[in-house]
Symmetry: none
Subunit: 199 residues, 4 copies
DNA sequence: CATGAATGAGGCTTCATTCAT
DNA sequence: GATGAATGAAGCCTCATTCAT
């Protein structure tokens, strides 16, 4: 019925909303969007079923908030990890590590994003488009400076995201841990060779 | 209750089974596994609801068949496209083009695979693991020959799959067409620079 | 999904649960477990189909509750009817009458028990095993005292239950009324002759 | 579509019909009338689904034939076992043993009868009514002769059937074997004391 | 005689959402 | 703010039966 999100909420209200958000993250991450039910979420949050609709318009709306929030956190984590680095390749390396650590810390949320494709395509595209934006900007700078080979920046951005995504899937999601050193080295060397001009 | 698959089926039976398979491909591709319903599929196939269970054990079982079939077709398409090529990099290029064309021709099926992650994780991993196998083998050869930089072959295989996957998503799925030349060139040049040794 | 049974339920909830229990008793009794449907039960109770699952986990679970409840009531009825009687044969007679009256008052429930054999055999055996327990205990006492002929107490207990069951079936269930006096006398005299020692 | 039962059938037809009957006995006995399906029965018989309706009008009709057939066999078995015995009590004893052996040999069929109550009540009553008939006749004779205490013969017949039924259930069905000697002795002594006049 | 494909009604169960308290 | 009872549509699946071959 309502979705006050940021608006006026009593302290008690804020607490309940947070409990629901946390429960939803867990439940969506474990069971997937469709299999997760409001009952499950409210049970996990320790509130009554009806309470859900005091804070969220619908199951989808909550899901969208989760995805958007996650995207923002990830972008923030990447920004933090690369701030102050001056070599563009150092930025990519730091980004790679930060991305994998983020996934490991937010496995549930990461799986949530991947489901977004089938829940709300618009949401899903937005997630990646925004993520790409930052990369594109820094790629363009590095290309202009001659530090990276000049190529279509968006193509390269999606290329990099694809690499990160699959390495994250293969090692962090499937094995449950960060990739072993030789994998990390192989991927970073792959990217470095691709991006930096040959003398 | 039944799932004769390849076994004895009258011609009529074969026809019905095929109609169902085609309808399922379309419906799953458009609506996703969870949102797709048996009603929808049988309606699209023009048969009664109960008929579905004459040919398939369950919604999941049909889905799994679709994914496995798709994986096999894709691997075949890649094998065909690269057969007879002698330079490893030519193989990668041909593979890239063949992959994108395959996606374009089987948009629905491609989206189906991506959902497998949430329907049957085992199935999903198998799909990529098998796809990786072929790539790993040819990478190892090229690395042994010194034609590709020596790196962890599995890491490189997932790296390449990630690239293909995201480019396919961004251009073929989202734009509905093959990537424009400068994107293709950028990606291929990216890969070539990464794989081939600097002199 | 839920089955609060005795736990916290608002007055309204209690009322609904009771309505459902009553309706189920009627419907199961009339149509049998398999033929009875949730639709039928909820319609008879005047609630929506989904409401059923607010109170009971499944059709089977409700059925089991009904059987267990009935067993307890019957044992209680028998205990009440025979309390304070000192002659063992008087106990049997009172038990016989009480049993038939119980059946007449709970015709539906009685038929429910007989179906349990095909719904949940464990449940069914438990019903009779518990019923036998009480009889066995009092038979053993009477045999020890020499008031009843010494025999295998469990065999005699099932013998008596068989008699009661069939007389109940033949007259109460089939004719819809308590057996006529000469039947009652015949059966009680049969039992008395069997149990009490000849001088 | 048809139910030729005894009418003209080719030898091949007779064979098929018999296969179906046998399969149905097994399947009904194991799964119960409702849970048993035509698919299951025809599969067990090794014929096509449609073939069922060449020989039987419906699932119910087949079931009814099975029950009637069983009743006839049991009555025959009892008649055979007691033929030529002159003392009425010897008849009862032989009947008891024959009944239990029959159950053991036809466990499936025995369970089938008990289900008839919920499939076709008329059928069920007929089964017991016919079984009672024979007993009633011989009881009346023995009572007239003074060999058995004079009582309502039908009441005594149902009393005896109840005893047999429950002892059969408790030992043959539940334990899977004939009752141990002390049970047999206890029951027979119970019956003898009940039926024969005290001096 | 026999087959097996096809049907469609109906069964159990789940679940997002509403609403009166 | 919070509750929990109630809803009804929708989903997956089963099955007795029919029918053309």
């Amino acid at each position: 019925m309502a979705d006050p999100q940021n608006s006026a909420l009593t302290a008690r209200g804020q607490r309940t909303r947070t409990k629901l958000l946390g429960a939803a993250e867990r439940v969506f991450g474990e069971m997937g969007f469709e299999r997760a039910s409001i009952v499950e979420i409210t049970k996990a949050a320790g509130v009554a079923q009806g309470t859900f609709y005091v804070y969220f318009e619908s199951k989808q709306s909550l899901f969208a908030q989760l995805v958007d929030t996650l995207g923002a956190s990830l972008r923030q984590a990447l920004a933090d990890a690369t701030a102050g680095l001056d070599s563009p390749m150092a930025v990519e390396e730091a980004g790679f590590d930060a991305f994998l650590e983020f996934i490991q810390a937010h496995r549930h949320l990461y799986k949530i994003v991947r489901q977004a494709e089938f829940v709300d395509e618009e949401l899903y595209r937005r997630y990646y488009a925004r993520l790409a934006e930052g990369t594109i900007r820094s790629l363009e700078l590095a290309m202009a400076d001659g530090e990276f080979v000049a190529r279509d920046a968006e193509a390269v951005a999606y290329t990099l995201m694809g690499i990160f995504d699959f390495i994250g899937m293969r090692w962090v999601l499937w094995e449950g841990k960060l990739p072993p050193p030789q994998v990390r080295e192989s991927v970073l060397s792959f990217i470095a060779s691709a991006l930096t001009p040959r003398t």
